[in-house]
């Protein structure tokens, strides 16, 4: 009988001495498991990784070493505890990977470059691409190309990919997964960059879940306040997309219409500066209408699942979202309302998280 102990070595991953990111296919399940933990927590230790994954200390050591060599993980300074050996924290290296997120909105397209911990390094707002009749999506191609060409060299070398967030209106109610897949492979074959496409509201929810206030949350109702109000149900970290395309015209478009009627400037609503002028009573009236709709959505969902948290994400000023959340909490006891912190464009940042989750995390 052959003795397998002395067969040629078959490493989990051949120690990789090349720079840049490895191909998708060689990243093992256990490696993704470890990266998922790191992407979900600020910093952790090998012991914690072992406990939470069930992997042995030696297996964790092998995985962490390859991730360190690849530059995805940075080793922290040993922390002396009062009892027991010091712990050495591990965290993602912010410079380890970059990603571009593009969100096509009602009027504008947002482009962000984020680093591996979700910090926005660049942000630009450009006009929406104009559809070309002769092609499916040459407009996206030009936009993505433009975004990638603007990247600093280091980010281009360590680019995990491009995430594209599309609103339901742009996809014209196509069967989404199939449409996204076709779009994805066409862009990839033309530009040679990994591209991931997702619905924009789902992307915003993913953004808050990966980089924002929803990081520690498992179950909540997610609201996106854009031109309209949209909702997503998140259970056990899973964002349920469903087939619901329902949105409510109580969003920022509603406020715009009101401002219009009063003859006030609507420009500040869309410029993403994070500041709105004092709209006075008008804002209060609009907020109340919005909160009424949020309460209706919440109580319909609450009939089926026990949800005690809602998250409100928006490019509207944080103070406005905070205000809405406090009012919501006052009107709906025992429910916690949290204003999102992903700025300047939750959809674009969420889209940028997509290449990270697809390439580095477990499903």
């Amino acid at each position: 009988m052959p003795d397998m102990r002395f067969a040629p070595p078959n490493p989990l991953r051949i120690a990789d001495r090349s720079s840049g990111l490895n191909a998708v296919s060689v990243r093992s399940y256990n490696e993704r498991l470890v990266l998922s933990l790191l992407l979900q927590s600020e910093a952790t230790t090998r012991l914690e990784i072992g406990e939470r994954t069930g992997l042995s200390a030696q297996t964790v050591s092998v995985i962490v070493r390859t991730l360190e060599q690849e530059g995805l993980v940075a080793k922290g300074e040993a922390q002396k505890g009062r009892v027991g050996p010091p712990t050495v924290p591990l965290a993602l290296n912010p410079e380890g990977a970059f990603s571009v997120g593009i969100s096509i909105g009602a009027t504008h397209t947002d482009i962000v470059l984020i680093d591996f911990v979700g910090s926005v390094r660049h942000h630009a707002t450009i006009d929406n691409p104009t559809p070309d009749k002769s092609s499916n999506h040459s407009a996206f191609l030009a936009t993505i190309k433009q975004a990638v060409e603007k990247l600093p060299l280091r980010a281009r070398e360590r680019l995990a990919g491009v995430g594209l967030a599309l609103p339901h209106s742009t996809t014209h109610g196509h069967d989404e997964p199939a449409y996204f897949k076709a779009l994805q492979s066409e862009i990839e074959s033309q530009l040679g960059i990994s591209v991931f496409v997702q619905n924009d509201i789902t992307a915003a929810a993913a953004g808050e879940s990966m980089f924002g206030v929803a990081k520690p949350l498992t179950d909540y109702l997610f609201f996106y306040l854009g031109a309209n109000l949209h909702g997503r149900l998140v259970l056990n970290h899973q964002i349920h997309n469903g087939n619901s395309t329902l949105s409510f015209d109580v969003g920022i478009l509603g406020l715009e219409a009101e401002l219009h009627r009063q003859g006030q400037s609507v420009e500040p609503l869309w410029n993403r500066s994070g500041v709105w002028p004092d709209f006075g009573d008008l804002l209060t009236v609009w907020e109340d209408r919005l909160i009424e709709q949020m309460k209706r959505s919440y109580s319909s969902v609450a009939q089926f699942v026990d949800i005690k948290t809602i998250v409100l994400s928006s490019y509207a000023p944080h103070s406005v979202c905070e205000d809405i959340c406090r009012k919501f909490e006052r009107s709906t006891p025992h429910v916690k309302a949290i204003a999102g912190i992903v700025t300047p464009s939750p959809k674009a940042v969420g889209a940028a998280g997509l290449p990270f989750s697809s390439r580095f995390m477990v499903e």
């Binding site: 070595p9 991953r13 090998r46 050996p85």
Partner: protein, 213 residues
């Protein structure tokens, strides 16, 4: 109390570069001693360095007693239970008399790992944590050792990668000593006091970073 076995050759024994085999750094200046100082009293460091020790080979000249494989088992038994075994070997396997490439030396390291796993001399019959340390590469100028180590310097530069491949496939810890220390030019393959310091400190950090329960 955690017990660590440091299993190595003359560079664990602490032979002074360029000196005779009898000249040795004192314990507190050898890497095992530095490791003890760094880790503190909650750790018990056992030093097992033998000049000329190979991974798995009987030395036809120096004698079968230099074979690291045959001595490892009784050594583990005498010191069990062991929490961590650090192995830094491989240089002596590169002697001309063995005529082995770096990959075969790594296979020898693999044998030792299998033996450690089989004996399971860790706490409560578990397998101890195993840390493979690749020795720093030799210099090209190895002085009067040239005939004994002919061709070894270039092979020694491949040890780290070959050891890491073995460590990865057998899922054990690995450290490349060349990242913190180098050999002394006095003889080209022994490490000096400064290197012992750096190595002891680095290995203490590695030992601490293991996810101990």
């Amino acid at each position: 109390m955690r017990t660590v076995l440091c299993y190595g050759d003359s560079n664990t024994y602490g032979q002074i570069p360029g000196g005779t085999p009898l000249e040795r750094y004192p314990f507190d200046r050898r890497w095992s001693g530095v490791l003890q100082r760094e880790l503190g009293n909650a750790w018990h460091i056992i030093e097992e360095g033998l000049s000329g020790r190979t991974t798995v080979r009987d030395d036809p000249i120096e004698g079968a007693l230099k074979n690291g494989r045959t001595y490892l088992r009784p050594c583990m038994m005498s010191h069990a239970p062991l929490d961590l075994i650090i192995i830094m070997l491989g240089t002596n396997d590169l002697k001309v008399r063995f005529n082995q490439p770096a990959s075969e030396v790594a296979m020898g390291i693999g044998c030792l790992v299998h033996d450690i796993k089989e004996l399971a001399a860790g706490p409560r019959g578990h397998v101890p944590e195993i840390l493979i340390v690749a020795p720093p590469p030799m210099h090209d100028d190895i002085k009067e050792w040239e005939p004994i180590f002919k061709g070894a310097p270039s092979k020694s530069r491949e040890l780290a990668l070959q050891f890491e491949i073995i460590a990865d496939s057998l899922e054990v810890h690995f450290f490349d000593a060349a990242t913190v220390a180098s050999c002394d030019p006095a003889d080209g393959f022994h490490i000096n006091g400064e290197a012992h310091q750096a190595l002891g400190i680095a290995l203490a950090r590695e030992a601490e970073a293991i996810g101990w329960n």
